[in-house]
Each structure stands twice: as C-alpha cells, then as structure tokens.
C-alpha cells in the first residue's frame, strides 16, 4: 500500500526494497511501453516548433490531400501528407500533441483537486459531510456528461480554456469516490489516530499523513481521467462543439478528415491512431502503477 514510484519517496523504503521496486518497474512490460510512448509524445510536443517541418496553420490550397510519404504519390516534403486545406499533417500532429496533453493534464488536475478535496472531507469527517458529498457525487453522475459538456461549450464558446474547464468540472467523480474510500481506511490506522491524539491540526493530518498514503490511488485515477478527458475532448471535437478550428486538435483532425475517409483514408487513420496510442499509453501506465502499487491484485 505504501510503495512509491517517485524518487522522493524512496527514502522511506529500505534499500533492498528500492532495488526490488526498480526491478519490478523495469520488469513490467506494459508500464515500460506506456511510459516510453508518453515520454516520446511529450518530447514531440515540447520540441514541436523544432521538429515540425512547416507551420501547422499554413495552408496551401494547391497541395491538398497529398498522401503520406509511403504512398507512391507522397513525398518527403510532407512526410505524413497534407490535409484538406493543404496543411502539413506531421506539423499539425506534432502541435496537436501539445493540445491533447494539455487538455488531458489540466482537466485531470482540475478534476483531481475537486474530487480529492471532496473525497478527503467525506472520508475524514464522515457523518453529515459524507452524506452531502455522496449526494453531490450522485448528482454529478446522474448528469449525462457528453450532453452537458456539449451544451455548456455551445453556450460559453469553444475555446481551449472553456473545454478544459468543462472537462475538469465534469470528471472528478472517480477521484471523489476513491479518495473517500481510501481516506476512510487510512483514518482508522494507528499513526493517524496517534497524530490526532497529540493534537495535530486537521489540515496537517490530512496533508502530512493521509494524502501521501492515498497518493498511489490518486495517480492511478489521474491516468484514467487524463485518458477520459482526451477521449471526451476528441468526441466533442468530432461533434463539432469542442475546441474550434484552426487548432490542430487530434479529435478535430479526425472530424475534419471524416469527409475524406473513403478515398484518402490516412486523414482519419493518422490522428485516430495518434489518439489511440496516447490513450493506450496512459492506460498502460495507469494499469502498471496499479499493479506495482498492489502486486497481489493481479493474479
């Protein structure tokens, strides 16, 4: 339960346990693959201005729907071809990685803050607070997410900030549920009870004793919600009510490419695969973290 995957936490583990952990981490194929992909995408996103062969917004109507380089009619000028307005697909893909990562990360952060806060209160204080929290969670779960997100984005306008805010405000339920259960458990532990007995403040107990103990669970949930936010953003874009053109959002690229999918299949295949790979990698890392944190759950 207390196994940490971040270096800062290693000091609380025995050296032998640290070595054991490293072995387990490196031996976990899924986790390693996922982490490698995410690092690669992160690097691509950060280095996009240097890696991209062209301006992702520069259009050239005379060079529309040029196939990728592996096609007979493709060329290295646009390695992944061009889209329906003659914009370089590789450049858009690279810059699009920034948007997907930004949306996934920020939405998970916002929802994490909301959900964890709510879950901590519910799990720590119990009783009335718990009842109110469970009522709030149930209400949130009852709202049809996609429809509400679409409606709010349509009313507030489809800018990146708004989409991130809407996703963040909608995806915190899992954080709340898990945090609540974990907090509830940790609260019973001896040393927390001891801390309370010695008169530590509630805030201190939560921050210093409880939060580190539920960090594992939170990180796993964060990966799930990142993946969710990216997929949901893609779905909003696909329906034409997410972030707006000309942003090179991957979901938007699939949406715009779908008109051409029968005769120029790469225009939806490439961003679709990119989305799939990113979400798969995040899920693999999430699953890996869960296994590493509690190896007995698997088997």
């Amino acid at each position: 339960m207390t196994v940490e995957t971040f270096s800062g936490a290693e000091r609380i583990l025995e050296p032998s346990a640290g070595a054991l952990l490293r072995r387990r981490v490196f031996g976990h194929a899924g986790f390693m693959i996922g982490a490698a992909i995410i690092l690669a995408i992160l690097a691509a996103a950060l280095l996009a201005p240097w890696l991209a062969p062209h301006d992702p917004y520069a259009q050239d109507l005379t060079r529309r729907l040029v196939p990728p380089v592996w096609d007979a009619k493709g060329s290295w000028l646009d390695p992944l071809g061009t889209d329906q307005l003659g914009r370089d697909y590789l450049s858009r893909l690279l810059f699009g990685a920034r948007i997907s990562l930004l949306i996934g990360f920020s939405a998970a952060l916002i929802s994490g803050l909301i959900g964890t806060g709510l879950g901590l209160c519910a799990g720590y204080f119990g009783g009335r607070v718990d009842m109110v929290a469970s009522f709030v969670v149930t209400t949130r779960l009852a709202m049809p997410v996609v429809l509400v997100a679409l409606a709010v984005v349509a009313l507030a306008g489809g800018s990146l900030h708004i989409v991130v805010a809407v996703l963040g405000l909608l995806l915190w339920d899992r954080f709340a549920v898990v945090t609540r259960a974990a907090t509830h458990q940790v609260r019973q532990l001896d040393y927390v009870a001891a801390a309370r007995a010695t008169g530590c403040s509630t805030a201190r107990i939560i921050l210093a004793e409880i939060l580190p103990n539920i960090m594992n669970a939170l990180i796993v949930i964060a990966t799930i919600e990142m993946a969710n936010a990216i997929l949901l953003d893609a779905a909003l874009s696909f329906l034409g009510l997410g972030v707006q053109p000309p942003l090179p959002d991957w979901g938007l690229m699939v949406a715009e490419g779908k008109e051409y999918m029968f005769f120029s299949p790469w225009v939806i295949a490439i961003p679709g695969l990119a989305l799939f790979t990113l979400v798969l990698a995040i899920n693999l890392v999430g699953d890996g973290l869960r296994d590493l944190a509690a190896p007995e759950n698997r088997n």
Binding site: A142, P144, V146, L147
Partner: protein, 305 residues
C-alpha cells in the same frame, strides 16, 4: 432492508430535485427566454408582452415551481425549432435510444462474461491475456473512430450490415458494438475478480474436495456469487449508455434522443436540450436506485454497511 431502501429512495428524490434545478437553469442561462419565444424580429414591446404572458417577469423560484409542476404533468415545454411539444418528441425518439442502450449492454455482457470467467479459471493463460489486451485496447479506442472503422469494414467492404437508419434489427448491430465495447472491460474485470474471489473461497474448495465436477461447481455456486456485482453495475452502465450514445447515434444516423440533443444544441433549441438532460438523468437515477436495491437484496452485507 426497509430502512435502507427508504434512505436510498430519499437520496434518489433529492438528486432528482437537484438535477431538475440544474436543467431548469440550463435553459435560463441560454439567453433571454422572452426574446427567444417572441422571435428574433420582435419589437421590445412584443418581448415584454411575452415576458408577462409566460410569467418570465416573476422571481426565479416561482418560475421554477411553475415549470416543475408542468414537468410533473408531462409538459416539458415546446421546441423553438419544431414548435412541437418536447415531451412528444422525446417519447418518439426514446425507443431508438433504449434499443441501442440495451443491445449495447447485451453485447458487452455477452463478450465480457465468458471471457471474464475463462480468464478467472485459468489465470495468466492465453485467454486471460486476450481478455486483458481486449480491455486495455477497448478503453483506448475513440468511439467515433471505432464506429467509422466498423462502418468501413462491415458496412462497405463486407456488406453484412446496413450502414445507417433503424430499418431492422441489423441496423443496431454496429452501433451496439461501437457503444458497448467501451463498457466491456469493466464487466470483464468485475467478472474475473468476482470469480477468482469465489473460487478461492472455502465452500468451493469444500465442494471440490467432495468430488463435484468442475462445470457443476461453476454453474451452481461460483457464477451465481460472482455475478451479483455485475448485475448491479450493468444497471448503472445502461444509464451511461443511454446518456453517452450521442456520438454513435450521429455516426449511424440513428434518430434517437442523443442525436436530437446534439442537433438541438447546434440550433440553440434549449427547451429540448433541457428536457433531454432531465429525462436522461432521471433514467440514471432510477437505474442506480434499482441497482442498489437489487444489490442489497442479493448481498445482505451491504445493508449493514
């Protein structure tokens, strides 16, 4: 049991009330209702007359009560776009969404239950790996993308299934798969975990020791116990499917509630959007209530905790 049921019912009612307030405010936030009702070319005097006639000059809580009273009587307002009663429009489209939701659920269960059971019986076998891979891959596929791929493969290339519309049961096959696969991993993991827990329990070991054959054990004991949590989650999942079918409905041109909701948003027809949010939320509330009660009925431990 009764106390638990009453408590659960009270929570459901409270949530329903809150949801109704939220969906009520959705319409009010969408702009000046009087202006929308009077039409864009109306004069200021027209707008004021409409405001009076519809009681839009009253305090918000009075308006809410009036709206809620009408909603309880089945009057969900009138569509700006079609000028038709919203309740009738939703009622006409609900069967499509319900059929889609239920068939998606059936698909998910039909794949997930056998795979989950097999995976539990032989942990780390190829079946187990396949199940795991399916669930990891399944959760990473963007649903609209998957739907388009299905359409190309089964609709266009193999020509096994109709591409859009609701002409026959065949029309629902692809949409059900595209919607259902996303819920599949949850069921698979639940079944696998539940089965493993039960298989490891004392009475199965006893039964095995008594010399009962494996299939008999499976059917008689393990499955029944392992399936309890699945049933409860299935009800909740159905609620998600009903609310989450928008993308699938739009790709396959199924004129269901989700499609109507999406179209209504893009033409700013907020009385319809509001009503759909309310109806879908109520469905979810009822389904989770049923799931909880069923769960408590099947598994007495829950009632206490």
């Amino acid at each position: 049991m009764l106390a638990f049921a009453l408590k659960r019912l009270a929570l459901a009612l409270l949530v329903a009330l809150t949801v109704s307030i939220i969906s009520f405010s959705l319409l009010r936030l969408s702009g000046d209702l009087a202006q929308a009702l009077a039409g864009p070319s109306a004069t200021a005097a027209d707008v004021e007359a409409v405001r009076k006639a519809y009681g839009l000059d009253q305090p918000l809580w009075v308006q809410y009560l009036a709206w809620a009273r009408q909603a309880l009587h089945g009057d969900l307002g009138t569509s700006f776009f079609f000028k038709e009663p919203v309740a009738a429009m939703i009622a006409a489209r609900l069967p499509v969404t319900m059929t889609l939701g239920v068939s998606a659920l059936l698909f998910a269960l039909l794949v997930a239950l056998p795979l989950g059971i097999l995976a539990a019986l032989k942990p780390n076998s190829w079946v187990d790996r396949l199940a795991l891979t399916l669930s990891v891959v399944g959760q990473a596929l963007p649903s609209f993308w998957f739907a388009l791929m299905l359409m190309i493969l089964f609709g266009l290339k193999l020509r096994w299934l109709p591409i859009s519309g609701t002409a026959s049961w065949k029309s629902f096959v692809m949409p059900a798969i595209a919607l259902g696969y996303y819920g599949m991993p949850t069921f698979m993991r639940l079944t696998r975990a539940g089965m493993m827990e039960v298989l490891a329990s004392d009475y199965i070991r006893t039964a095995r020791a008594k010399g009962l054959r494996a299939p008999a054990i499976l059917l008689k004991h393990a499955l029944r116990n392992a399936i309890v949590p699945v049933v409860a989650v299935a009800a909740v999942q159905l609620g998600f499917f009903l609310g989450g079918s928008i993308v699938i409905e739009s790709v396959f041109a199924l004129h269901g509630v989700g499609y109507l909701g999406w179209e209504s948003i893009s033409r700013a027809d907020f009385p319809v959007v509001q009503a759909i949010v309310l109806v879908l939320a109520l469905f979810y509330i009822v389904l989770t209530l049923l799931a909880d009660l069923l769960n408590a009925f099947l598994d007495p431990r829950i009632r206490v905790g």
